[in-house]
Amino acid sequence: MSAVLKDGGKYEPAYRPTVLNDVVASDHLDWLESEAIHIMREVVAETKNPALLFSGGKDSIVMLRLAEKAFRPDGFPFPLLHIDTEHNFAEVIAFRNLRAAELGERLIVRSVQDSINAGRVVLRRADESRNVHQTVTLLDAIKEFEFDALFGGARRDEEKARAKERILSHRDEFGQWDPKNQRPELWDLYNARVHKGEHIRAFPISNWTELDVWQYIARENLQVPGIYFAHERLVVERNGLLAPITEITPPRAGEKPVTRTVRFRTVGDITCTCPVLSTAADISAILTETAVSRITERGATRMDDQTSDASMELRKKEGYF
C-alpha cells in the first residue's frame, strides 16, 4: 500500500485500490481533490462575487489546478487576486503572470507599495517587512471589488491557528476572524451566507499536508517556480534560519554572506521567507526530502512566525490570509 520513489525516477504510485473491480481508481489524492472541487463549487454557487488568491506559490498553483478540474471547459467563475508586497522574488512574479496568461484568466494585482504611497500603510522603518501590512491592502481590495468570498490555499497542518479554522471561515465587516465564535461545520454542508460587507474565506485544501501538495504537483505534472528546486544562493545565518541576501535584504552589520545550495519550501515575501539547505533538484527529490523532513514547513522557513507563539493567530484575527 505504498508508492515507491526511485532515485531520479518519476513519481509513480505503486498502489491504487480499485472498487467494484472496475476502472474506479481512488487513492487519497483523489479524495482530497474531490473534496476541494466540491468546496469550490459550493462557494461559487452560494456567493455572489468570489476571488481566488494566487501568489505563484505551490499551494496556490494546486488551487488553480483544482479550479480547472472544478469548472473547465468554462472559464473560472472568479478572478485571481494577488496582494503583492513588491518584495517578492522576481521569478515567482514572472511565473504568476505567465500562469494566469496560460489559463486565460483575469489576474488582479494590488500592491502594498500603493497602500504605502496612499498613506494607508505607514512603515515604522523603511526596511521593515511588509508581510504583515498585506492585510491592509487585502482588505482594501476586498472592499474595492466587493468580494464576498476569497479562496485561499491555507492548510490546517501548517500552524495551530490554522488547525482550528473552518473550511469556510466567516469574516466580519472589518475582515476579522473570531476564533471563539466560529460557525459549526457539520458533514460537508457549508454555510457561506454573509451580510453585506462581510465575507467568507474558503480553504479547499484545508485537509492537505505539505507532502500531499507535492504528491499532487507530481501527479498532475504541474510547473512550479524554479526557486523551489536546489540552486546556489547568497545567504546569511540569522536566528537559526538562512536569510537570503538580495537588494531588498542586504546583510546586516557584521554578517558575512556565504553561497549555499538551497531551495525554498515556502515562497512569500523576501524579507521573511528563508530557504533551506537542500540538493533536491527535481520533484522526485523534493518528495523524498518532504517525506523525511523533521522540521515543519513554517518552522524551517518563516521569520514572521518566530515573533511569538501566537503570531499567526494575531495576524489572522486582523484579516490576514
Binding site: 500500500m1 505504498s2 508508492a3 515507491v4 520513489l5 526511485k6 532515485d7 485500490p17 472498487v19 467494484l20 472496475d22 474506479v24 487513492d27 487519497h28 479524495w31 481533490e33 474531490s34 473534496e35 472541487i37 466540491h38 463549487r41 459550493e42 454557487a45 480547472e68 478540474k69 472544478a70 471547459p73 468554462d74 490546517r156 497542518d157 495551530k160 491557528a161 488547525a163 482550528k164 476564533p179 471563539k180 460557525r183 459549526p184 461545520e185 457539520l186 458533514w187 460537508d188 454542508l189 454555510n191 451566507r193 454573509v194 451580510h195 485537509n207 504528491q215 518528495l287 523524498t288 517525506a291 523525511v292 523533521r294 522540521i295 515543519t296 518552522g299 507563539d309 501566537a310 493567530e313
Partner: protein, 431 residues
C-alpha cells in the same frame, strides 16, 4: 535510496473527553510516539514547558502540543475543534480533537459528523462520568460505526484489571440501548505511554491491541465507504459551455455522494422525474466510463433537460424519498434557543429551502436516554426528535443508510448562523 510514500486509506476519528481525562496528553503521546511531532514543534513545547514550570519525562509536557490559541490559554479551556494529521506506514489519520467544556455537544457533533471512529476517554480513577455517556449517545446518533473506550490513567489505579473490568461492564450495559457496529476497550496510561503505541510492561493482563494498532486496523472506513450505496448526485452547478457528443448539451457539476455511475446508465432527475441516459462523465480532459463516490465530476446526459442547482440525479428505480415532511434527530447548536414559530433555512445536499417546525416529539435526556415529552423548545446542546415541513420537496434517504443525503443543517436567516444539525429518520419514524 528509496522512500516509501503512503497512499493508504484515511481514518478520521474524534477524541472526546475533557482536559482532566488526560485527552491532551493522550493525543500528544500518540503523535510523539509515532514520531509525528517535528523538531521545531518539540523545541517550542520544551520552551513552553520550562517557562510554565511544568515537568514531564524528557522535559516535555506532551499535553502542550495540542495547546491551541492564545485566547484559549488565557481562559484555560479549549475553544473549538482542532484538526490534526499524522501518518503511519499503515494508514493516514485525521484527528478531530473536540473539547469537553460547556459547548461539548456542539463541538462533538461537529467532529463526529465526519468521523469513522470515536475515542471516548475515561479517567480510571474516577470511572464513567455523565460526560462519557453523553459522548457515547452522540457517537451513536451521528452513526459512528466504531467506538473505543480508552480507560486512561491506569497508573493511578495500580494498573488494576478489576477497575478496568468494572468500568467496561458499566459501559457495556449503558451501550445496550445504543448502536455501534464495533466497540472496543483499552486500558492505558497516556502519561506513561502504556498501550498507546508501545505496550509497556504494566498491563500484562490485557491481551488486546494497543490504541495505535486498533486505529490502524479498524474496519470502520469500510462501513462509512460511500461507494456501496445507491447512486446520488446532487447538482451543484450547471456548466455554461455546451459539451457532449454533438456539443449540444450542458454539463451538470456535482459530487457523487454515494454509489457509482457508468456511461449509458438510465437516470432520473428529481424532483421533475424526467428520465435520460448518461452520455459522458467528465473530469477536466478525461472522459470516464465509470465514476464512484466520493468523486467530483461533470455529468452529461443524452437529452436537453431543464436542471438546476438543488436537483438530484439518481438511478431509475433506485430513488430516494421525495418529500416535504421529514422526521429527524436534531442537535441544537446555537446559544439562541429554537423558536418553533419561526422559519429556518434548511440546507440539505445542494438545496436550501425554508422550513417550519410541525412539532417536537421529545428531547432526549442523554444521561438517562429518557425521552422527555412536552418540550416546546431546544436550547444549546439539546438533542431530540422533531418534525419539519419544507417549502419545496427534498430528496432524502434515512441517515443510517446514507449520511450524505440523510443529513442537513438549519440556518437562521437573520444572523446567518448555523443553528442545528439534523439526521433524517426513515419512513417508519413518520408513523
Amino acid at each position: 535510496m528509496s522512500t516509501q510514500l503512503i497512499t493508504a486509506d484515511t481514518l478520521r476519528f474524534t477524541t472526546a473527553g475533557s482536559v482532566d481525562d488526560g485527552k491532551s496528553t493522550l493525543i500528544g503521546r500518540l503523535l510523539y510516539d509515532t514520531k509525528s511531532i517535528l523538531e521545531d514543534q518539540l523545541s517550542s513545547i520544551e520552551k513552553t514547558t520550562t517557562r510554565r514550570g511544568g515537568k514531564f519525562d524528557n522535559g516535555v509536557d506532551l499535553s502542550l502540543f495540542t495547546d491551541g490559541l492564545a485566547a484559549e490559554r488565557e481562559q484555560g479551556i479549549t475553544i473549538d475543534v482542532a484538526y490534526r494529521y499524522f501518518t503511519t506506514i499503515k494508514r493516514r489519520f485525521i484527528i478531530a480533537d473536540t473539547p469537553g467544556h460547556e459547548q461539548y455537544t456542539r463541538n462533538m457533533v461537529t467532529g463526529a459528523s465526519t468521523a469513522d471512529l470515536s475515542i471516548i476517554l475515561v479517567d480510571a480513577s474516577k470511572g464513567l462520568q455523565t460526560q462519557s455517556r453523553r459522548h457515547a449517545v452522540i457517537a451513536s446518533l451521528l452513526g459512528i460505526p466504531h467506538v473505543v473506550l480508552a480507560v486512561n490513567k491506569m497508573d493511578l489505579v495500580d494498573y488494576s484489571e478489576d477497575v478496568f473490568e468494572s468500568i467496561r461492564a458499566e459501559f457495556v450495559a449503558f451501550c445496550k440501548q445504543l448502536h455501534f457496529a464495533e466497540l472496543d476497550f483499552i486500558p492505558l496510561s497516556a502519561l506513561e505511554g502504556d498501550m498507546i503505541v508501545e505496550r509497556g510492561d504494566k498491563l500484562g493482563w490485557y491481551r488486546g491491541k494497543t490504541l495505535l494498532a486498533l486505529l490502524e486496523t479498524s474496519s470502520a472506513t469500510e462501513r462509512t465507504e460511500r461507494v456501496k450505496g445507491e447512486f446520488r448526485f446532487p447538482v451543484q452547478l450547471v456548466g455554461r459551455t455546451k459539451m457532449g457528443r454533438d456539443g449540444g448539451y450542458r454539463g451538470y457539476l456535482g459530487r457523487i455522494e454515494s454509489g457509482h455511475i457508468t456511461v449509458g446508465d438510465s437516470v432520473k432527475v428529481l424532483p421533475s422525474g424526467i428520465e435520460a441516459r448518461v452520455q459522458d462523465i467528465v473530469l477536466l480532459n478525461d472522459s470516464l466510463r465509470t465514476a464512484a463516490a466520493p468523486q467530483s465530476v461533470t455529468l452529461v446526459l443524452d437529452r436537453q433537460i431543464d436542471i438546476s442547482r438543488g436537483d438530484m440525479i439518481v438511478h431509475v428505480g433506485k430513488e430516494p424519498r421525495v418529500t416535504n415532511q421529514i422526521t429527524a434527530n436534531l442537535s441544537w447548536l446555537s446559544a439562541q434557543p429554537l423558536a418553533t414559530n419561526r422559519q429556518y433555512l434548511i440546507k440539505h445536499t445542494t438545496q436550501s429551502v425554508r422550513a417550519i417546525f410541525e412539532g417536537i416529539d421529545y428531547r432526549l435526556n442523554v444521561n438517562t436516554l429518557e425521552r422527555e415529552a412536552g418540550v416546546t423548545t431546544f436550547k444549546l446542546n439539546d438533542i431530540g426528535r422533531v418534525r419539519l415541513k419544507t417549502l419545496r420537496p427534498l430528496m432524502v434517504d434515512s441517515y443510517d443508510v446514507t449520511r450524505e443525503t440523510g443529513s442537513f443543517i438549519l440556518i437562521d436567516e437573520v444572523t446567518n448562523e448555523t443553528v442545528a444539525g439534523g439526521m433524517i429518520l426513515g419512513e417508519a419514524a413518520n408513523g
